[in-house]
Symmetry: C2
Subunit: 340 residues, 2 copies
Amino acid sequence: MGPGPRRRPPIMTDVAKVAGVSHQTVSRVLNEHPNVSEETRTQVLRAIDLLGYRRNLVARALVTRNSRRLGVVSFDTTLYGPASTVYGIEQAARNAGYFISIVSLRTIDRARVLDAIGYLTEQGVEGIVVVAPQRSAAEALEDMPAGMPAVAVEGGRTDSVSAVSVDQVEGAVLATRHLLDLRHETVWHVSGPADWLEAEGRVRGWREALTAAGRPVPDLLAGDWSPRSGYRAGQRLAAMTDEVTAVFVANDQMALGVLRALMEQGVSVPGQINIVGFDDIPESEFFSPPLTTVRQDFGAVGRRSIDVLVRQIEMGEPYARERHVVLPRLVLRASTGTVR
Amino acid sequence: MGPGPRRRPPIMTDVAKVAGVSHQTVSRVLNEHPNVSEETRTQVLRAIDLLGYRRNLVARALVTRNSRRLGVVSFDTTLYGPASTVYGIEQAARNAGYFISIVSLRTIDRARVLDAIGYLTEQGVEGIVVVAPQRSAAEALEDMPAGMPAVAVEGGRTDSVSAVSVDQVEGAVLATRHLLDLRHETVWHVSGPADWLEAEGRVRGWREALTAAGRPVPDLLAGDWSPRSGYRAGQRLAAMTDEVTAVFVANDQMALGVLRALMEQGVSVPGQINIVGFDDIPESEFFSPPLTTVRQDFGAVGRRSIDVLVRQIEMGEPYARERHVVLPRLVLRASTGTVR
DNA sequence: CAAGCCGTTGTTAGCGCTAACAGTCTTCCT
DNA sequence: AGGAAGACTGTTAGCGCTAACAACGGCTTG
C-alpha cells in the first residue's frame, strides 16, 4: 500500500519547515539565486525530494506576471500542414522554455478566432501564435488585444502583427516554370478553396509565371484540398487530353485524386500529362507515379514563428512588426519529365 | 491613433470602481451567482465592456484550485493517428469547458514521459491524457503522481490509470478473416515497430485469426510505419508471388509503399495480390487501387478519453479505473476482392 | 409589532508564491 | 580598530481573485 495518501500536496512552507529555513530560501534555491550557501541548498533539495514537492507555477505566474505559456490558435490540426506547423511550434517553444496551450478551430471566422484569443488571454498566456491560413482569420488579427505579443503564421499581409509564412507565390512559380521548361505550352491549375491565402498565393504565382512566359492562362479548376475534389478535377482533365499536358495541383492530396482519376481513364502520367503537387507530404514519394512537388518546410515555419514571438516577449512592449518568409523548393520525381 | 495605450490591463477592482460596487459583486456577476440584482448586473457588464476587462484566470485558479486546463502528452503529432486523436481530445475538452496544454515528445521513453507529466503538474493542470502508443510510455504511467486524474490512450494494460483504446486485435482479425474469406490460403503481414502496442496488437490479431482457421503463419515482415518501409517490404513480397496472395499491412502509409513496389514490379493488385491496410487515412480511398482498410475512429477515442477524465476530475479522489474499447471496422475497397 | 427570513451587497482573509527590504555575520581594507 | 562591502537569510507585503462571513433592508409571519 505504501505511504498513506496526503490530502494536499506539499507547499513551499512545508519544505522550508523540513529543511529548517524560511520559505524564501526555498524559493531562492528553486530559482537558482546565486547567494545561497551550498549547505543550505543541499538541505533544501533534500527536503524537496523527501516531500515530493513540486512548485506551483500558477502562484508563481500570479506574482511574476509570466506564465511561461504561449497560446496557439489553429485550424483543423488533422491536416498535414497545420499539424506539422504546430508540432514545430511546440518543439521550438519547449526549447525556449515555454509551454503551449492549443485551441483548434473546426471552422474559422473572425468571431471564433477572437474568442479563442480572448480565452487564451484570460488563461494568462504571454504570447499567441495564430495559424491563420484563411482570409477571415487573418483579418481577426487586426483586433488582437493591444500589448499581447503575437505572430501570424501564413497570415497574409496584416501590419498589426508579425508574420511568418512560406512564399506561396514563389512555390507556384517554381512549379509552373518547371513545367514550362519541359516545353509544355501551358499549365493548368487545380486550386485550393478561394478563401485560403495559400490557395490565393499559388494561383497568383501560377498566373504570374504563365504571363511572364507569354502563355495563355487556362480556366482554373477549383478544389477544396481534399483528395476527392482532386479526383473530380482529374475526371474533367482526363476528358481534355488533347489540350491539357501539364497540371499544377495546389496540394498533394488533391494531386493524388487527380492521379487516380487519370489512371482510371487510362491517361498516362507522365506520358500524356505531367503533374506537380504542393506540400511534399510523406506519401507523395510513393504515389503512382511518385509526385513532383513543392516542399514546404513546416518545421522551419514553426521554429521561426516562436523565435519572433519569444523575442517580442522578452523585449517588452515597443517591438517592431517583423515579416519572415520561408522559401519552398521543388522536389523532382517521376510525375513530370517526359516531354509530350 | 485611438485611445492611448494602458500600462496595465484593468483588474476587477477597476471594474468595481466604475460600476460603483465592490469587487466581490463583480466576481459574482462573472461567476453567474444567482443573487445579483438585474440592475447591478447591467451596471457591472457595462463597466466590463467599457474597460475591456478580462478576468485573470491564473488568479482564479490559485484560489479555486482548478485551472480548467488539462494536459496532453503525445508522440509525434504529425502522424495522422496521433494528430486526429489530439484533435478529438481538444474538441471534446473545449466542449466540456477545459483548455489543453500539449507536450509532443519527439522520442518517447519512461523518463521523458515522466518529465512531461511533471511539467504539466507544475503548470497546474487538473488531469492528464497520455497518448502512449509505445510500451515504454505506457510503463511510465505506473509512476503517475498520486491524486492526479489521468487516462491513457492506446496505453496497454496498466491498472494504475484508466485507458481508452481501439481494439487493435479485433481490427487485425477483421482484416485477416476478410482475406481468408476470399479463399486466400494464408495471409502475410507487414508489421509496425515492435515496441508499439498497436503494432503488437495487430500482429496478435493476425496470428489468432490464422491459427483459428488452421492456416500456416508466415514469417512477418517488419516495418516502421513509414511508406518507405512498406516499399521495401513490397519489394520482397513482389519476389514471392507464387506463395503470396494476400497481405495485411499494419497501416495505410506502409500499404501505399507496398502498392508502389508491387506496381513497379508489375504485380497486379488485386489481380495477383490482395492488400488490406489499417487506419483509413483520407488518402486511402484514392490509392491505386483504392485500399481496403480498417477504420479507426480517432475522434471517438479522443472524446471518450475526455469523458473519462472529466468524470474523474469532477468525482474527486476515489474513482474507479475504467477501461474503454472502441471497435474498428473494415472498409472494403478495390485492393481486395478478386480471388486468385 | 417583534422575530425571523431572504435577497442583496460589502468586508476580510488567504490561495502559494516572489520582490523588496531588513537584518546578521564575515571579510577585507585603510 | 573602525567601518564599508559583501554573502547569506529572514520578514513583510501583495499579485488578482474567491470563500466565508457580516450587515442591511424589506418582507412575511404569529
